[in-house]
């Protein structure tokens, strides 16, 4: 924690960045994102196990971007997101400084982003045991059971789009779910409308999702939508050998191909 504050102060004082995006204490024992512009305020910054939000989300937020160069406290999923956002040309590497946080919660020094890249190549990016177990359980179900599980789990969704807004890689200003000429997804937050909305989201994040879990955490109704995108992340790895966000030059999985892509179902 002290090391984060110290580094943040250095960066602000030396004008290398104009804002530090980090975590601060919130209400009711919650933590939340903090935007420190003045080095006198760095003592607000904290880091502990409650700090799970993927702050890379704010790198593409209009009002934050416009504050100037950004220093960001980044957990491993956030670092992967940064790589994705750079690959997808949403963030310019020269505009950010990363205050990495390793698995042990300690500050990592990244003099430049290539060091972060090499750190990530070796970092543990496995899903949590809980998510892994939930996905395995789902995979073992019969088709009918899976259908029932998802159509029921998604039935309550009221399309508040908190899952989408919380996802740093759902940055489109105009989402296909809102497109009505043609109407791809039924407008209604009904079983069918919800089912297809989440199918669309999972597909659009295939090979891009960094498995941070923020979409599921954001859902006010506790719908485990992260299990959809995380599964697709696992599948991208299995089918195409791609783990998203490990370098600043990721090829987009679904807009590329290899001649030897192996399917087992096309007649």
């Amino acid at each position: 924690m002290e090391s984060i504050r110290k580094r943040a102060k250095e960066l602000l004082d030396s004008k290398q960045v104009q804002v530090i995006i980090g975590y601060e204490n919130g209400t009711s024992n919650k933590v939340r994102a903090s935007f420190i512009k003045d080095s006198a305020q760095v003592d607000k910054l904290i880091y502990d196990e409650r700090c799970t939000q993927n702050l890379a989300l704010y790198l593409v937020k209009h009002e934050v971007k416009h504050l100037g160069k950004m220093g960001i406290v980044a957990t491993i999923p956030a670092m992967r997101t940064i790589n994705m956002l750079i690959s997808e040309e949403q963030v310019k590497p020269e505009n950010i400084v990363v205050l990495g946080i390793g698995e042990d919660g300690k500050l990592l020094d990244f003099p430049d982003l290539t060091v972060m890249e090499s750190f990530l190549q070796k970092a543990n990016i496995e899903l949590t045991a809980k998510d892994k177990e939930a996905i395995e359980k789902l995979k073992k179900m019969t088709t009918q059971e899976k259908f029932d599980y998802w159509s029921n789990a998604l039935e309550t969704c009221f399309k508040c789009y908190a899952c989408r807004s919380a996802c740093p890689l759902c940055y489109c200003t105009r989402c296909a779910v809102e497109c009505n000429q043609p109407q791809w997804i039924p407008v209604q937050a009904s079983k069918n409308g919800n089912y297809e909305w989440h199918m669309l989201r999972a597909m659009h994040l295939s090979g891009r999702c960094v498995s941070c879990g923020d979409c599921g955490r954001a859902c006010p109704l506790d719908i485990p939508v992260h299990l959809l995108t995380m599964h697709m992340a696992e599948e991208s790895k299995r089918l195409f050998g791609v783990d998203s966000g490990l370098s600043m030059k990721m090829e987009s999985v679904l807009s590329n191909y290899k001649l030897d892509d192996k399917d087992n179902f096309i007649l």
Binding site: L138, K139, M141, T143, Q144, E145, K146, F147, D148, Y149, W150, S151, A176, W184, I185, P186, Q188, S190, K191, N192, Y195, E196, M199, L200, A202, M203, S206, G207, L228, H231, M232, E235, S236, L239, F240, V253, L254, S255, N256, Y257, L259, D261, D263, F265, I266, L267
Partner: protein
């Protein structure tokens, strides 16, 4: 009781499968009339949501077909399509959509007989699987407060 006749929507590319299906006709090969063909410029254009549109509108099964690898009129459209299907098929399966109801195939402009065979076997398979009531119920299920 009359036998169940599945409704099948085929999404095919203009350059190979559509031409192939045309050849089936001009060669006077008979095949199941259950299929409704929709022509696309390229398999690369077949968005995954189009398949869902077909199910939404009552299709019991779907065929997606285009040029064999390396034969794409636009050189790589079918390779892109293949990747997308590989991912999408996994997602469908994970969400409980019956992937057996979707046939993916490569049919060239010269393979009129093969097209007939693909349609016939798909139709046979779907006759056994029966109507896709699961999805149709999902579409029909309304909202509690609807008047």
């Amino acid at each position: 009781m009359s036998e169940f006749e599945p409704k099948i929507v085929a999404f095919v590319c203009n350059w190979c499968t559509y031409a192939g299906a045309d050849l089936t006709g001009t060669s006077r090969i008979k095949y199941a009339a259950n299929v409704k063909i929709i022509r696309f410029p390229c398999t690369g254009r077949i968005d995954f949501m189009l398949l869902m549109k077909a199910f939404q509108n009552g299709a019991d099964g779907i065929i997606v077909s285009g040029c064999h690898p390396n034969d794409c009129h636009y050189s790589s459209g079918n390779f892109h399509a293949k990747r997308r299907w590989m991912a999408f098929r996994e997602l469908l399966d994970y969400m409980g959509v019956d992937v057996e109801r979707i046939t993916f195939s490569w049919v060239s402009a010269a393979e009129g007989a093969r097209w007939a065979e693909i349609v016939n076997t798909t139709t046979e398979k779907l006759r056994k699987l029966g109507p896709y009531t699961n999805y149709q119920n999902l579409v029909k299920s309304g909202i509690e407060e609807e008047l």
